[in-house]
Symmetry: C2
Subunit: 364 residues, 2 copies
């Protein structure tokens, strides 16, 4: 028994349809980190929970914060409240979130011996709290909108696992990459297996689409991106079940700073690519043709501006996608999911987000 | 009288020749931040000088640290020891370097009134210490290799001037960009005039090539990069004297993270583009054709690896450039200057740099 949810018919499926480049009545929308610190109600729940990981591990509260943005905004998808570092934490690296410093691992893995000892966590054991959250959220959503599951890319998880926390230039990990690529491949391979098993379990528990966050793939050279990041994401994509409850479960790949590699990303078999704001969305669409849908890509900093500027920038994003007509794809708005080009910043006012979503709903 | 140096015939001009895509006997090389903290002799001089700005302002010591890497490595160019923030400091923003925090401005400019009050500093008055350093270094170099002058791009300087220091997402500056672009254009315009006058003075004082560092242009969208960064760099390029002592003074543009915009950068009239390591150098060469030379682009983190890996990565960079044959350019190695894709990290061992330059000299 891997799922407790009884599938309800989905009332709003425009997000899933757009991911498969099917016709939609308007551009669907959601926002990376839509459940997060910019919301006062989130900060209140977070305080109630204790630490950030306490919040992730509390099924009821993780479900509550996932639902919070949905009460404010007419978004077309919910995203599981969790963190990309749950996997290395479940591997025994000891995750803590230190104020002002970010995530810290008490036991980083920095040599062959430590890396060879790592096992693939059981998603219904060490990571059961995540699956419980997925099941609870699906129940709470009750078929209103789809739920997105997610994981970090192996390369991105490896940056934290080797460096022991956030890093500016990934000196330790890159020293390993250049000096001892075989050991790094061992690490990435174990992490890729873990991500695959984790996402499979999220899908079994009720996730209706999944996104792989490659936050740091953009720090790699062309050649190394292919070998150390894309390669493992492709492996994960190829091993995920692509159907659940008789419906395709789309996979979205998002490499921040990956604008130079979109064609390769589109060839992985993913259904959609997340695009950051540095890439012209129309150009991206011309590059990938009819291979994938595109998700993005407003600069999150637009939300620091006033209402008129926010509305104007929303329209620019939608128009930019529409301008990317390609011989092999039909003109129109199909295949675009509006999103920010990166997660929302904690300092943004919730009212600015309201303006953004209102404009997408009207104009998109 | 703007210069005190008597031009000596240049003994090694392969750097200047390669910038103009003329024949060279081997690929010329230098390294961004080659005078810097990774060198023990630098750390000693820095301690002797006092603060970082004290070192920049001390003609003799600024000259000394510029020369230090030249005593160790057979580089083909020296670069003025200074900082991109000298201009806003000269405008009265009050620059300090705070340990662990980086540069801080006591008087950031955050509104129209403050921005409208800014003047263009006189390079032979408030910034005379920089010109004195240029003259002293030229004298000391005595025609051995050329001297590179430099400045920050207006957009990059504006990030520090508005944020007041380093920033993760440039929230204040981007709020201004989206809400009040006219005020930002006023700021960028004043800064561009200052950079032009500053680089003109460096050339008059003896700089034989100049590089514009656009460290943060890569944080912009396609459209905004053109409007708020490239536009002003182009203006500077068009207003620089391109000849001194009967020889062309080449201009190098370097936008970190600018791999998606190389064709536009090549159209500015610059002689060469700096390329970071995320861009494939062969692809870059195919894109820009015979418009510009290319400088770069080894990942600085390669220098954390062992000797064999460093040598292999150096060869890959040189081979990558050679692979970028374009119908409009002659095959061969002309038009490449070996460099890192970004400044050297302070934690690198000087011996690793020696291996790198040795391999360039042998293989390039």
């Amino acid at each position: 028994m891997t799922t407790e949810t009884t599938p309800s018919p989905l009332k709003n499926d425009r997000f899933l349809r757009a991911l498969l480049r099917e016709e939609v009545d308007r551009t669907p929308m959601w926002m990376m980190r839509q459940a997060g610190r910019y919301l006062p109600e989130y900060r209140k729940t977070r305080e109630q929970a204790g630490s950030f990981m306490d919040l992730c591990r509390n099924t009821e509260l993780a479900c509550e914060v996932t639902m919070q943005p949905l009460r404010r905004y007419p978004v077309d998808a919910a995203i599981l409240f969790s963190d990309i570092l749950t996997i290395p934490d479940a591997m025994g690296l000891g995750l803590r979130f230190v104020a002002g410093e970010g995530p810290v691992f008490d036991n980083p893995v920095r040599d062959k011996a430590a890396i060879e000892k790592l096992g693939v966590p059981d998603p219904e054991d060490e990571l059961k709290y995540v699956m419980d959250a997925v099941r609870a959220i699906r129940k709470e959503l009750d078929g209103s909108i789809p739920l997105i599951g997610f994981a970090g890319s192996p390369w991105t998880l490896a940056t934290y696992m080797v460096e022991g926390g956030p890093s500016k230039d990934f000196a330790r990990l890159k020293a390993m990459m250049y000096s001892d690529p075989a050991t790094l491949h061992t690490l990435l391979s174990t992490v890729a297996k873990s991500v695959t098993s984790y996402l499979r379990a999220q899908i079994a528990a009720g996730a209706q689409a999944v996104q792989i966050f490659d936050s740091w793939g953009g720090a790699l050279s062309d050649e190394n991106y292919r070998e150390f990041s894309l390669n493992y994401m492709q492996q994960i994509v190829s091993e995920l079940p692509r159907e659940a409850d008789g419906r395709r479960v789309p996979v979205i790949l998002f490499t921040k700073g990956g604008g130079q590699w979109l064609e390769d990303m589109a060839d992985t078999g993913a259904d959609a690519l997340g695009i950051d704001w540095t890439t012209n969305l129309g150009n991206a669409r011309r590059l990938v043709g009819d291979k994938v849908a595109l998700q993005g890509n407003m600069d999150p900093c637009v939300l620091y501006a006033g209402e008129a500027a926010i509305r104007s920038e929303v329209r620019k994003v939608i128009d930019s996608f529409a301008s990317g007509v390609h011989l092999s794809i039909e003109p129109g708005k199909t295949g675009h999911i509006f999103n920010l080009g990166h997660g929302i910043h904690p300092g943004i006012k919730p009212e600015a987000v309201e303006v953004m979503f209102d404009e997408v709903a009207k104009y998109g």
